[in-house]
Symmetry: C2
Subunit: 475 residues, 2 copies
């Protein structure tokens, strides 16, 4: 019979790898169609419609600047702890876990002006972790404007020493361009620069500076590292190319204080049969000290909370525990997540699957998955096939990270998924004052909740644990 | 024969009105095809390629904040006067004309904070013409947040008196929504409000406030009128609807000084046969005290300058004079244009046609025309048919204004055209710090120059004057 299979069929089989899927497992997931439809119906047309937007707005309007080290962040964690532990909570067990020794950096007054050859104020944001200008006072110096590390390194130290280095590196992609934020100051300091003004990492700007974390490497000379806008970086480069002398005044009195303790917030919706087996559904609660962090990442966090509420409201309870985790100190380098992983790394068997949304909830497309590529991949694809009603059926695999905070787990072999969003405008707003509720859409949030609820419920409810990759089956 | 004309043909005739076009006139314009192609070739592929972008960047980088009353504006006018009168200028006669008695308003320090129920800094821009907060110091008061004038008027004076009125009116279109900028303060003052914070007039925001002119009507109680961002307006409205008390601190020490004199800059490229007959090709030179006014309206102004340079570089000279006019004080209410019109209104016969670009030069589509709808419309459509190579063949007619500064002329019966741009993002940047060279594209500018050069050259060179509308033929 096989010889008679048409080429078309053969291609389809190769494409879906369905020949490798366990037919019983596939059928088991198909049996969840009525449950998936019930969940979607409840969110799109039932009492849960719009609930995520409403709760998200209430949260971010009340706790806007949730930067690590701030009272607002701790208050926001306590607020959600109270909600989770309150009468109307659907969670069985909620607790905070201390995350000690976190960096505590605060922004001070900051301003910058181009003062030669013409006068113009420039919108700036110091990068998290940056030192202040000397005594927190204006630093006035000539500027050199480069478009790359290579161009900087081609200069002689005498051309850079005592000056401000301005980077106008442009935007390729976040992952490529962000190196200028991380390393721009240190690379400039090597040539004797006294401050680095770095073009914001983003593809589109309305005079919008983007903050974000930076660090100094061991032994580096520390100089201030400050975001300027795309517009100003380009303007300074144009003037620089005319040969005119550029003088800039920049002031930033940010401070690094003693390390502090923050908290991850953990809430379990207990499984019926294997309560010690856990499916993690997560997002991070901290943001920067600009905007509201509506998109990064209160939205990603909130869809996980609402997903469990919806599952509960329908009288559903899976065999395994769904664990909401709200990570702290993500923006300082995934520090809450790293701490939690370290406390759990000897018990990874209980972590069946890890999920996070940290790339926006604008228009959910499906899932990015990492893990076993035989039955694991089959399960994810089959779950996605149940999500046609919300147009979230797209699948992509990666051998790398699917989402920031769960990277430690997936690197250690726990399969995981990130919400695959159309992030067309995500980096317009990322780490800017513009990351506010205005960027959120109630319908998109509802669809993200539906995707999250269906996926987490099914994975937590399967007869067998979600397969973990073994050396033999992992690509 | 007419009875045998099909309905389809009849519709086509009505649509194009081609039965009314003078065949000799149409043929005359068709004979310009080689000239149009030469102009386009020179700009798209010749020595003039990229010239407009280069000159525009040089201009706006050197003179960024050209607000009426500023030395920068007067310096920028003198700089262009010098260019026009210099050795390499192609213009025959260039002069400044004084425009007296113009408002001189300056922005001072300004800042705003939400201080109850949570703390957040808000990006603001006082509107041009607004008074300061008392003594230029922070004004701290409770706020009322409305979404429309109707909602405001539905409130009792006791609910508004002594408070700050915040408008979260949303964006419908510039022309509709801008009334909140014009009248928001006065309407709020009628109920005893002490300041008005008005959502910026724009469809998209990254925490970007938009300034713009406002005025107080005779007899109005004057209160400060200040732009806030879309994000903050929406945030304040959400909090207001929860019933929580909102307290805002707002400081603005803008000042209105004694009236000043500025200048329109006028430069003639003399016609060969009818030098006293004029085709005006214009844009405004002033902008606000934010951004660079690259798009509003240095770009619109610069395409006119470069268009004449290109015409000259090809050895072309039309029968009538092409007059570049760079209007001053447009942002204060078309005041430079109004003054010029008043000096010329008894000699309107010499103005054959008026053109302006003041809606951006992003992606020129064609022309918006007002004037005679028989042979005048035929001419414009026929000229546009020569512009297929730059995709600028679209035509629209209006009985209203085709562009800001030439409105007085077109209202008085002089036919005119505005550059029809795809202004999809024009109001993203309009009157914000983001109106900088970054929004400009060299190729789009080149195409705008080509459109401008072909249209102005042909209209200035026709055998007969461009037809003026008469009561009989005007729709």
């Amino acid at each position: 019979m096989k010889i008679q299979i048409s080429l078309l069929f053969a291609i389809l089989f190769v494409h879906t790898k369905s020949q490798e899927c366990d037919p019983a497992l596939i059928q088991e997931i198909r049996n969840y169609r009525p449950v998936a439809e019930l969940i979607i119906e409840e969110i799109l047309h039932g009492a849960s419609k719009g609930l995520c937007y409403e709760k998200l707005a209430e949260f971010v309007d009340s706790y806007q600047l949730r930067i690590t080290g701030s009272q607002v962040l701790e208050d926001s964690i306590d607020y959600l702890l109270e909600q989770y532990q309150g009468e109307r909570s659907v969670m069985d067990n909620t607790w905070k876990e201390s995350v000690p020794n976190l960096p505590h950096w605060t922004r001070g007054e900051e301003e910058a002006f181009l003062i030669e050859p013409v006068h113009k104020s420039m919108s700036i944001l110091a990068f998290g972790g940056s030192i202040a200008t000397p005594l927190g006072e204006p630093l006035v110096a000539e500027a050199v404007v480069v478009t790359s590390f290579d161009e900087l390194r081609s200069l002689d130290a005498s051309q850079v020493s005592g000056k401000i280095v301005v980077y106008n590196q442009g935007y390729v992609s976040y992952s490529q361009s962000v190196n200028y934020r991380y390393k721009g100051a240190s690379e400039a300091a090597k040539l004797g620069a006294i401050a680095a003004l770095i073009e914001s990492i983003g593809p589109f700007s309305i005079n919008s500076p983007h903050t974000g974390v930076m660090t100094y490497a061991e032994g580096d000379t520390k100089i201030p590292a400050i975001a300027i806008t795309q517009e100003d970086a380009e303007m300074l480069r144009r003037i620089y190319l005319t040969g005119e002398r550029i003088v800039i005044s920049v002031k930033s009195n940010s401070q690094t204080h003693q390390p502090i303790t923050s908290h991850n917030l953990i809430a379990d919706y207990n499984g019926t049969r294997y309560p010690d087996k856990v499916v993690v559904v997560s997002g991070h609660i901290d943001n920067w000290d600009v905007g509201q962090g509506a998109m990064d990442d209160a939205g990603g966090m909130m869809i996980g909370l609402i997903a469990v509420e919806v599952i509960n409201s329908l009288g559903l309870r899976p065999k395994r525990t769904i664990r909401n985790i709200l990570w702290t100190a993500e923006e300082q380098g995934l520090l809450g997540a790293e701490h939690y992983f370290n406390t759990q790394k000897n018990e990874l068997d209980k972590f069946v699957f890890v999920m996070e949304s940290d790339s926006g909830t604008f228009d959910p497309q499906g899932l990015t998955y990492t893990g076993d590529r035989r039955n694991g991949e089959c399960i994810i694809k089959e779950i996605l096939s149940l999500l046609g009603a919300i147009n979230a059926t797209r699948y992509q695999w990666t051998s790398g990270s699917v989402s920031t905070d769960i990277t430690h787990f997936t690197d250690a072999g726990v399969p995981g998924a990130g919400l695959w969003d159309t992030d067309g405008q995500y980096f317009y707003f990322h780490h800017t004052e513009g990351d506010m509720m205005t960027v959120e859409d109630p319908n998109a949030l509802d669809r993200a909740v539906a995707l999250w609820a269906v996926a987490s419920y099914i994975i937590a409810d399967l007869t067998d644990d979600f397969p973990k990759p073994s050396p033999r089956t992992t690509n």
